[in-house]
Symmetry: C2
Subunit: 709 residues, 2 copies
């Protein structure tokens, strides 16, 4: 059998090491849910103290089982864990689910045991799920190892780091009649990582939506890669908590200090096409919408209601979530008017004007007109549908049911998303049940309805974009000259590259730099200067000085040889105070950059996502407004376009107050090459190109810093 | 009887003009809800075509009634309306509710009828409610004129511009067991305006919360004044629609009102202490929370749960809505630890660690510890409370009920807000019903729970601030010299003040201006210049030139008399091309402003809110970032402080990159005086002080413009 999570989700046999009959115990609940859940493969219960459990034979050890065992669930104390895993591996286990807690999350001792487990599992390549997890559910195998009763079946698969969030979700599902294909509690995720599950679920025909709950992210770089690939087929909807646990990162570079954890998570998720939500109920509504609705082609919504108030609220919500509410075409308006009260405008939002409560058929007709308009991508009904019978008269119930049936048919026929917001959504009303059963979202909150429909629309637009992207390879390609340089720096026990060195790296990757000459003496400086066009800039070059300006190591606007000589002497004198004269290699002389807009471009190696590229404008834009954008490398061209365009100050680059536009392509070129440098050279921990002056033509990297680590 | 809305809400008698028995008709539904709603005063039904209605005598005309009638509801066609109002006034009506639609919102003809109605009502001072409204409900009078069955009684009063939003709210109330004191559908609000209702409800002992739904705002200046006054006693919670252009479209087609600039609405509401929400369900949850909960003293929340996942989500939500989640004091932690699973940290959020599901008593104990900690202002329980019985065992139900009872007692004893988020909130569970009945919010959405608790906390903080504010009078005080100036400008058929004139106005209000001399000839210019310190600036003065720079009418940095002479000639030559030589009065010469930060200060007369003062930084902050703040005049000192501090670029004023702080007080002084100018001089339509350069000491108004209108 090939190594695949398939063997974990659809095992031929399951053993429970540490099976128990004591009511309420973690092990008892899970053993019972397995036995009562309909699993048809072999089940082996292991407990050295019992010969019988749940009326079945109990084995003293898994090694006593006379057949291979595909999947093992272990619920034993930490000190017995390594042996249990070793035995499972011996018995041919393809997957080992470890419920046991008190491991890596508790301290060093636990981490040691985790390492032992992984060593054992590595012998055969068995998957380790957990430890400290709450189990797994697989509908295709009728296998419930979660100890939760009544799991509804459906097209949603769940990955979660918290057991009680899984409880929430199964509860919401029961209440709303939506269900699950697979549920995995990943626990400490020492073996199988998040993105591996996603990679499997991507191709799982029973999974239409992947729902995740995350507390921390491991190997975010692969998560972005896999999620982006998955987005071409199906959505990943993620609830990531921890926005508030401000993780102050110790970083030497400017880029590092601007990169808050959550800012990068947001950027990475957007880049990966992951739909991010912030609450469990939102997660559920969102996943249900994705599971049930056709994906809209664009973001143009038609809003319909029997009341202007609800229409206004819905239109505000539509705008808040980035949908368009276009005025309907004249043709569509003409087609719709016969169904509206005379004089009501059919522009959009559409107000039936008091006819629909008595004749819900009018709604169907209006919906049909919108379904047939190819300038509308989705339809949102808002107001009281389902409750007209209460407001008008009981005979209306039947008319509402007919309208529901017709609308269900239309969704099938036209494959266009229809959402129904109604304040009666949570009441047991037949017309609404007809919609719900057919997968038409019926949502009590107008805002949530807009939020979900908008997410579908934006996912669809993003999916198109991602499908067309050419994403550069994430594999490092070595460049001998650069590696040689790093070797030398390493041998000198330095982690900071000299500016002359970082310039070498940039040049090697084809980034154009203005002329610069290193001078070791005042005379050399003047000689070098005279080869260039004044005015000039001069900077100290010393392995001991990182913050050149602070050390008095920078002089600008040098106008002639006299200036240059004086500047050299002063810089060296200042620098020698910080280090020694020997520690000063000399000064770097280069022409002053021409006029333009100050920018900052950088790279940090994020503990969660690996190489992350940053872009922003300089000055108050970084100092005061933190107006910067991030993307995880490798960057596709679309990533680069977005990160330049999404900053608030973007307009400054395109030209304001009559100024000519700046050379945005030159900036994009630097970003692309920086991504390449980051991928090829994992030795580099941080890069600051600051400032980069972008001109009407070209861009000048005025200062560059690289830190190895 | 004194003129008071009291007579409208508690009338001794009610007449219905246009009463009907035809099922489903607007008039029939309202007549029926009045007759069946328990109203004990006299009711007169008027219909010239019927002698009997609902088994009662019907009068052909209200003038046939032999007693005075306090309140009249009119449901007749527009063409009969003026006569019906005139008759009502004759019969002594104190209030006239007009359901009839098709008036001001439909066009000129309707507006004419509205004017006639107001003329009639003005004869006795009768209140006109509506037209185009859906009626009124008053619990104290047991009077239901809304035609909606089953209105729950309670402490919330509603003002709404949309009939179907009222339907929503009464439906939500039924579902959640909260109720109303008064409900007013204001319709076109041609007679009684929004703020008059609020002013009445402010002192109404039966109203604890005022809930409003607004589409457009009329007389926003009074709304701000009254709402701010009301905030000292009780909250106004407002759903204002029309943020989006499509929303504005929907609102415009519904009432006749003009949806205004949402940035100003946001600022005005914040200033007025109005709690703004964006959806009907949010409006309801918010009002219910305000109606039932003690107001917290500050914004420090303790979060408790049986699970880490729910705690993380709640902590994120708390931060999102601006609450603090402080680490509990050592003492409190020590007191709490006995109730937590060993090893669980009691820092905050607090995770009971799996003990509470079986022993809900632990929750009560933890809540008690938080209730007794005066460093905690509110408590949020999150997770599964009420559902432990399902997860653990049925006997837990009783324990949960006991916990609920104890918590209800604690809320009463300690007067501290307790919110319960549970995914079981909407299920019929006794332990939750105990909480709900006692007014403890039990909310299904974790986010909504945080949002409501936070709103309580921030309202409370704001209430303290507002109560201490000294708000300047909104009455205009005339200044003879300024009025004289305006008179002169008016006589010259100008609306733009010359800069020399706007400087006069500013000076009259004590705003300090740098020296400036108007020169009519080149010689005069040089003479004036020589009295000042170079470098100088020169600007054209002409009633025909508004945009001085565009007309080549500005010269900066003049270094000597030669410069001045040349500049004068050029300016006059350029200006004469736009107007004539006679149209150029001369040039204004003043010293160049010293270094500092460019700002913009302005005033506009907003169609909704009247005089609105604006503040922002200059350059890209206005051009690109629209980083400006607004407040409705008159400004209190606290308003001024906030409007300066809330702009994103505020840090620039306090000093960044080693720069010294700027003279913020000088800016605030200008703002205060501009507010005074705006209040005293309704003739002024717009003021631009742009740029204002704020220095380390003082501020220079480099250019000023005033437009009358």
């Amino acid at each position: 059998m090939e190594r695949s999570l398939e063997n974990v989700f659809n095992p031929r046999s399951v053993a429970v090491i540490g099976a128990s009959e004591v009511p309420g115990k973690a092990s008892e609940r899970r053993t019972r849910s397995l036995l009562e859940g309909g699993y048809t493969g072999e089940v082996y219960l292991i407990n050295p103290k019992r010969s019988e459990l749940f009326g079945r034979k109990a084995y003293p050890s898994i090694t006593e089982v006379d057949k291979e065992v595909d999947l093992v669930m272990i619920v034993v104390a930490p000190r017995f864990l390594t042996a249990a895993v070793a035995d499972s591996v011996k018995m041919g286990a393809k997957g080992i689910i470890i419920i046991t807690a008190g491991l890596g999350e508790s301290g060093e001792e636990g981490k040691k045991i985790e390492a032992e487990i992984l060593d054992e599992a590595a012998k055969t390549g068995a998957y380790v799920i957990g430890p400290n997890c709450s189990g797994m559910f697989s509908a295709s195998a009728e296998m419930n190892l979660l100890g939760v009763p009544q799991i509804e079946r459906g097209p949603i698969s769940v990955l979660a780091q918290s057991g009680n969030v899984i409880d929430s979700l199964t509860h919401y599902a029961r209440m709303r009649g939506v269900g699950f294909s697979k549920i995995i509690s990943v626990g400490n995720a020492v073996g199988v990582n998040f993105h591996e599950y996603i990679d499997y679920l991507k191709d799982d025909p029973n999974t239409k939506v992947i729902m995740t709950y995350l507390e921390g992210i491991k190997d975010g770089n692969n998560l972005v890669r896999v999620a982006r690939d998955t987005a071409k087929k199906k959505p990943v909807v993620a609830l990531k908590v921890g926005r508030s646990s401000a993780g102050a990162r110790a970083a030497a570079s400017h880029t590092g200090s601007l990169a808050g954890d959550e800012v990068i998570v947001d950027a990475a998720f957007r880049q990966a096409g992951i739909v991010r939500v912030s609450n469990a109920d939102e997660l559920f509504d969102m996943a249900a919408a994705f599971a049930n609705c056709p994906l809209p082609k664009g973001k143009r919504v038609a809003i319909l209601s029997e009341g202007g108030g609800d229409n206004s609220i819905a239109a505000d919500n539509a705008e808040k979530y980035g949908m368009d509410v276009p005025v309907l075409s004249t043709e569509t308006q003409e087609r719709m008017k016969p169904f509206l009260l005379e004089g009501m405008p059919a522009s959009n939002p559409i107000d039936y004007g008091g006819t629909a409560e008595e004749n819900p058929h009018m709604i169907t007709e209006c919906v049909k007109v919108c379904m047939e308009d190819d300038q509308i991508d989705g339809i949102l009904i808002t107001g009281f549908f389902g409750g007209f019978k209460d407001i008008i008269a009981s005979h209306v119930a039947e008319l509402e049911e007919k309208a529901s049936e017709d609308m269900v048919e239309m969704v099938k026929q036209y494959r266009k998303s229809l959402f129904v917001h109604t304040s009666f959504a949570r009441e047991p009303i037949k017309s609404l049940d007809i919609l719900k059963t057919a997968g038409v979202p019926v949502i009590e909150s107008s805002e949530r309805a807009a939020q979900c429909l908008s997410a579908l629309m934006h996912f669809s637009i993003n999916q198109k974009k991602i499908s067309q992207m050419r994403i550069p390879a994430a594999e490092a390609k070595e460049r001998a000259q650069v590696k040689e340089l790093f070797k030398k720096v390493g041998e000198e026990n330095r982690s900071n590259l000299l500016e002359t060195e970082s310039r070498e790296v940039l040049k090697e990757y084809g980034i154009s730099l203005s002329e610069a000459i290193l001078a070791g003496t005042p005379e050399g400086a003047v000689e070098a200067a005279n080869k260039m066009r004044y005015p000039l800039a001069m900077k100290v070059v010393s392995p001991d000085i990182i913050h050149k300006s602070d050390a008095g190591g920078t002089k600008l606007g040098l106008k002639d040889g006299k200036d240059v000589e004086k500047a050299f002497k002063e810089i060296v004198k200042n620098a020698a105070k910080v280090t020694t004269r020997k520690g000063v290699l000399g000064t770097l002389i280069s022409p002053m950059a021409g006029p333009g807009q100050e920018c900052i471009i950088g790279m940090i190696r994020d503990p969660q996502f690996g190489p992350v590229i940053m872009f922003g404008l300089g000055g108050i834009f970084v100092e005061v407004l933190k107006d910067v954008s991030f993307r995880v490398a490798p960057l596709a061209q679309e990533d680069i376009d977005e990160m330049v365009e999404e900053i608030k100050g973007y307009k400054i680059l395109t030209g304001i107050r009559g100024e000519k536009p700046k050379d945005i392509d030159a900036l994009k070129d630097i970003l692309a090459k920086l991504s390449e440098i980051a991928i090829d050279n994992p030795e580099i921990k941080e890069i600051d190109l600051n400032p980069v002056i972008v001109h009407e033509k070209g861009a000048s990297i005025v200062d560059s810093r690289m830190i190895l680590g």
